[in-house]
Amino acid sequence: MSRLLRVSALLSVLAWVAAAVVVLLPSGQAAATDAPSGDGLSLTKTLTRHWFDPDHGGAPESDSRTVTVSVDRHTNLQARERIHVSWTGAHPTGGRAANPLGGAGFDQEYPVLILECRGTPDQVTPRTCWTSSAAERTSKVSNSQAVWRSDAEADPADTGRVSGLSDDEIVTLPSYCDTTVSTQSFHITPFVAANGKFYDGCDSQGMPPEATGTDVDPPNEIAAFTDLNGTGSANVEVRTATENESLGCSSTVACTLEVIPIMGLSCASATDPFCNADPTYFAGQSYDGDGAAPALTPHFWWSASNWDNRFAIPLTFATPPSVCTLSAVGAPVPFYGSELLSQAALQWTPAYCLDKDRFNWQDNIQPDDAAFTNMTSGGGAVAAEVSVREPDDEGIAYAPTAVTGWGIAFDIDRPYNQGEQTSLKLNARLLAKLLTESYPGPSYGQQRPGLEHNPTTLLADPEFQQLNPGLSGQVATEAAATLLNLSISSGVVTQLTSYLAADPDAMSFIDGKPDPWGMVVNPAYKGLKLPVSTWPLLDTWYPSHTADTCLNQAAESQVPYLPRVASPVSSFRLIATAMLLNWPEVQQVSLDAGTNQCTTARTPVEGLGSRFMLGVVTLGDAQRYGLNLAALQAAPGHYVSPTNDAMASAIKIATTADQKAQKKAQKKAQKAQKKAGKKAAKAAVPLTPIAVDEKDLRASTTAYPGTMVVYTAAKTTGLPKRTAQEVAQFIRVSSTEGQVPGRGNGRLPGGYLPITKTGVTARLYAQAQAAAKVIAAQKAPTTPTPSSTPTPKAKPTGSASVAPPPATPPAAAPTPVATAAPSATTVTDAAPMVRTAAVTSGLGGGLLPVLIVVGLLCGAITLGGRVWLFLRGAR
């Protein structure tokens, strides 16, 4: 008996442990992905389809499935934020589309359609759901094929020849709708815009202005596929009134994400061959043009059978950045600096400008060095946000404001349309290969002398294939040969190139040594000195005598080829938008069919299912837009992903190294003071940045190499009293309230490591408080800046650094047509404000004097010689 008791006790304990694991596991996962937890939502529903199986003599059939749909976030959304939607239990998809966005995804069988609709879940009707083309709203076929008319669940009104509209609306339809043909059936789902305007939706003429198909902004409605095991996922980008005014989602207008797992229409009649048709495709098969069975496609998403199966995810939107320009109190107080802060600024700004005890904080983006000069020279910046120590910083205090960094985002689909690749490993040498334009690309670049034997793209590189098995077989495009980077000066570029500089393999590759597989660096970049603060575009080669008339024309104007493949852009926001829309910035010349002229244009959007592109992004942007980030090599053989733990580990290493350096400097100072007979000074918190040294991080197996700290730098003397108070207030608020993770106003978004009073970031916290005190006091600098060596500043590279600033950004990439994600920050004058570099030439300075001296000397020798000879001859 007692034995039985003991066993049952053990069993109950085990059950409790199992339950605890089950309960705790999801939260553990959420922490691992660094998404602000607690914003997810999960819904479960049982969906059933009834039809008559033609293979069994029209016997009634039914298919019932319990589907669970989960999202990772749904409140306080920002413009273009991506929601990760995943589901289980759905019907496996057949006829997978190469591109599931918009109407292109409508010819699949049993996909999961996801639409953004205006209104709360109980307000939404198909009329307020957004689609980007008329074909997704209007069905027009011959009467016998109109499967929606035999939907068993449909309202009798929807089974008429012309349905979807009231009688009054049908009368006022424009002529292009042409509903009078009696042999054809019509179902029209009009769209009602946020301002109440009625769009009939039966033709592109009857669509709202934002519905431009794929021309301007790729569609955001998606028909994603379900795998054979019933699971699937999709990243859905939500648009606000800024991007889509007709849809009109905003902080005041709630919206809903409608997730409709397509089960197929339930059929009213056993004799309807179209409604009861078997699927054309096997589950998992790709679409090949055969035409899907209509009743199983998302074409009739509005039909009762499908519409009743929807999962409604309520969405709420955050206060838009424009709120501060519209309703803020007081004049804006401008801070200038690093774009690393922009996602935090998006959430922080309203917390300042809408609080009457605070001030109208304005965050502007400017290259670190320019922002710093702007601040020290009184050029308008009250404070600068920088990530490295700047030169000539006497009397400046740096307050740590955010711990974040950069990452390499990738949009890569596994070969043969097997879905999205979610993990990737990269090392410094692969980044060096991409940045130095050493992959010639799959087309004309292969003629570039010196690159003939290199792999054409990253995909073809054996080093990449070894690191990332299973990624070959995709069709490589030019975008796979490059890494979308920043064209202007930035602390991020300095840190990224320091990462390359700290890697012996990467540097020996750049210096001209082939990698173990025989790949060599682009000759234009050979021997490039790193780090740099602006990545130079050095290749000037262009293909000539090709079959392409436009390329020949470009060759006549000597337009370099590979820099157009690289096409760096002027802000991280543009890179994030390009990654979000799967739209490479690669520029190509091609013949415009309309004008018959050669034009330079961006390559088309990459279809979901066959993507391959990479870009340098900020961790904040990656988190906001749900971009996949690569794990970077730290210690040899160890690849670290940008998690909060990995950033904390990097900060720990950097602070430890910094403390050692400080101690050394202090000891020296104390010795000197002792010698001078003075009392040793009290150790104070240093107000200079800690150096995140890539050399130290490379020794670690857990630290993320892309970690950076953003500082608010401001003067400790000479600021007006009020301004000084405001800067100090910003530092205090941002280092306390601003470090609480969350999605609301004033909170810290994902992609940033919270700075806390204890733990690894304690030193940063203490420094922020000390800096706030010093800046608020505005007394003459009592703490002299320690003489420890400052962070290695980016040195300009050899020939790439002409002293005058470039008048145009190198290979000026045209701004994309797509309206980029708005941000609280404004991009200002991007010209790097640098100091004139010393360009000297010993040859130039010395040649003429040498010629004069040598000429005189030799002249004298000749003269002397002649005289001597003459004298000897005379004797």
């Binding site: 575009l537 002293a803 040859l843 130039g844 030799c858």
Partner: protein, 279 residues
Amino acid sequence: MAIASTTAALIALVCVWALLQMLVLGTLAQQRDQHLRYAEFRSELAQATAPTGELDYRGRPIAPGSPVALLSIPRLGLQQVVVDGTASGDLMAGPGHLRSTPMPGQAGVSVVMGRGSTYGAPFRRLATLSAGDRITVQNATGKVSYTVQDVRRAGDPIPPAPSGATAGRLTLVTAQGSGFIGAVRPGSAVYVDATTQQATPAGVVAAAVPSSEQVMGRDSGALPLLVLLLAVLAGLVLAVSVARRHVRAVLVWTCATPVAIALAWAVTDQVMRLLPNLM
């Protein structure tokens, strides 16, 4: 002793010739180049075919060394035709326009480089300019008047890029020495910034320029021609020594001297291309 004396004499000859050409003969050549280009630019302006960017009116890239603007600095009594390209060879003809910047007079930051010591040294007194001085530029589309902001040397902050559709900055660059015989020690780059608010619209700009066209750039492309010319010079020496055995020296030298001078001139021009472009 006789050999040493002869060697010294030859070295002295080479040095003196080089100095002569850089400082005296080069000036003559530069003045002639300017004269020709002035006429050419005048006629292009009259026909409205003067280039507004790196592509000419037919859409072809303009040849290096062709005239693109007329630069006047009344304070220095300077009027020069600006040529396209800033390689050492281009700057022998006059101040050159950095091809990766807009044309002088156009909106944006345009850079013009000029020699400071040799070949006419058009920019030798550039550093004596001071804030407020006027610089006028006649380009393909109009006459633009600039006001000098300051002289800028290594370490001075570069002013921010001009903002506005018609704002422009002209940066003149040359090399300069300091101290004893500073005029013939053009070792470090010096800049003069001038701004305008009435710039003409910018045209096509070259995406990148090779290092030979950067500040203090040297053009190693001159080497093949130089080798060829030296070979011809060696051939001349041989021919002279052979001829002297058969013909009277006066006759030989009468024939050979003009050829020798022409070759020496051409050789020095090629050597100049190997030297920093701003000296």
